[in-house]
Symmetry: C2
Subunit: 335 residues, 2 copies
DNA sequence: TATGCTTGTCGAAACGTTTTAGTCAAAAGC
DNA sequence: GCTTTTGACTAAAACGTTTCGACAAGCATA
């Protein structure tokens, strides 16, 4: 109800509102004695700065927008946790938007961000829409792409090399003795799925195999456990079991694992299995799952650091396209 | 950079700023012809309302704060998704805070919310601190407790009956023929863990068993898969395997499952196993997991609807303490 | 024709900060 | 001892909305 303003603080401390503002924003500019007097008044009155008024006058807020494709996916959740961490450390608030992969919803999120006059936006784009983002930049809102390498040099982005990831997985399977490999994946229109396939093919070529021969693609529509199980059941039913299965995603891999075990196929004795993402549950499954680990948390952290650096040091800021390297995690399913 | 203000829109449409504001907020109050003229100007100039200015003058923002204990936990993630959904439908932005179970961090989140002058706060409290929340209410910020039943009638809350949940789980185990049951749980200082235990004991009593005899508590410090596995290993090593294991959490249950299978104990033939939360991964494990399902998504949705109702209709709003009922999901691990 | 009522628009005063220019005394420089 | 510099503070003008009282025009009623 009654919110204390800077004026009341000023009155109680016997100074002008401007001085209170200085105590808040440039404490070194005000004399020790008055500063402590003002701070005392602030405490006694329970004053908290009015963010809207502050950002209206100052011209910029202390918030960033985060738009992710699917907040239910542990991958994005970890990213979000990293973002929240850094933002909170630096006194920024995070406005969350979930696009659910829907372009329209994403656009609505961006509008909300624009209305809130966020300082910057972190986004895992749902589609390849550079236009809307440039529009935001035109409004003075910085944008950092997350899990999506920028194609232009005038923007920041943070991603993980999915081609390397695909190579790592398949090289490992080959080293473990696999001849024929199945790649269980979501739609290849998803960049991540396509890149991991490319990596897989490169690993095969490098090992002197013909990707067309050694690799079978099994595409499913949804990247969840159920689809994975169905894919496994299909492979079993058609009697064309490969030596190893590489899944574009741990959820798919968990489903495949389940499907195989149910059909009496032993993992890793009969079929090797490796997933992607290294979600927490990967190590908790009955046969613990080998996987490709991505530095999700760091992804979020670095993206936010980049963004806030761009906001706070617009002059000295150099745009960066950060590309992390994924890491192979070997567990029972390929041993 | 250059943001278009309401004045420029007014100038282009040949009306006063006040009229533009009316078009934005009470379109029915302005004549058809002028309205469309103004809307045209808005489109042409790419105007978007300045949220800070708006909430400064109007006295309230269009944002809500959401403070959760652990954004990495699928339970809270689902809740958050529900919150985001409703908020976004109603044109509200969600400011996310992750307390990590830390009281201090939670307090910092609340401060940020207060600075942003959020319309209301949704919170899964990290501790039993009513004080801070009453302080927020004193500032005119509405508060809804999430997954925590309010003890007073003057506030809204949304929760799931954990006592019923505990009963459901244990009744099911008893019906399936279990005699001795182990309850693997996190610290009993966590309300949810304690309530589920109470429910378990009630189910035993109702079945004419002595809870002291039939139920063994195995408390671990962290509620994750690793702790669960350790608990299972301990039970096996000490040679005191129960007929059934009830876990306070699916992550624990997945760990227990793994520990048992590794020791050659068959589930469900040798030991029955049931978890809690019914996270997605529960159905994807090697032996699919029976569990207690909570309406997480609805929890988030209803909490947000309650909050926004309280914000928009302060007069007619009646405080509610909503208590959802959990649901038994039977899968392989108890069949 | 005067009166009241309705409808649509305007002008101006807020809202709570930040910031700029300016005041005034005390310290420093010559 | 005079000017200049510094340091600490103040006063007032913004920032972009919303809202409220005023008012003009149109129209029905008396």
């Amino acid at each position: 109800m009654s919110s204390v303003s800077i004026k009341e603080v000023a009155a109680r401390a016997g100074v002008s509102p401007g001085t209170v503002s200085n105590v808040l924003n440039r404490p070194e500019k005000v004399a020790e004695s008055t500063r402590s007097r003002v701070e005392k008044a602030i405490r006694e009155l329970g004053f908290v700065r009015h963010g809207s008024a502050s950002s209206l006058r100052a011209g910029h807020s202390r918030t960033v927008g985060l738009s992710v494709i699917d907040i239910g996916n542990p991958f994005f959740t970890d990213v979000a946790a990293g973002v929240e961490e850094v933002a909170s450390e630096r006194g920024y608030a995070v406005i969350l938007g979930n696009s659910s992969g829907d372009r329209l919803k994403e656009e609505r999120n961006l509008l909300v961000f624009a209305e809130q006059r966020v300082r910057g936006v972190l986004i895992t784009p749902a589609g390849g829409d550079l236009a809307k983002l440039d529009q935001l930049r035109g409004r003075g809102i910085n944008v950092v792409l997350v899990d999506h390498p920028a194609e232009r040099a005038d923007q920041c982005s943070v991603a993980v090399n999915d081609i390397t990831g695909g190579s790592l997985a398949v090289s490992h399977l080959l080293a473990a003795g696999a001849g024929r490999i199945a790649y269980v994946t979501g739609p290849l229109t998803i960049r991540q799925c396509a890149d991991r396939l490319t990596g897989a093919e490169r690993a095969l070529s490098a090992a002197g195999r013909d990707p067309g021969q050694a690799l079978e693609e099994v595409a499913v529509s949804a990247m969840n456990a159920r689809s994975g199980q169905q894919a496994a059941e299909k492979l079993v039913a058609e009697g064309r079991l490969p030596d190893a299965v590489f899944c574009a995603n741990d959820l798919l891999a968990l489903g495949v694992l389940r499907g195989l075990l149910h059909a009496g196929v032993r993992v890793p004795q009969d079929v090797l299995l490796i997933g992607y993402d290294d979600i927490d549950f990967a190590s908790a499954s009955a046969v613990s799952l080998s996987s490709i680990r991505q530095p999700t948390h760091r992804l979020g952290r670095v993206a936010t650091e980049l963004l806030l650096d761009e906001c706070d040091n617009p002059e000295s800021h150099a745009h960066q396209q950060v590309m992390f390297q994924p890491e192979l995690v070997v567990r029972e399913s390929t041993r």
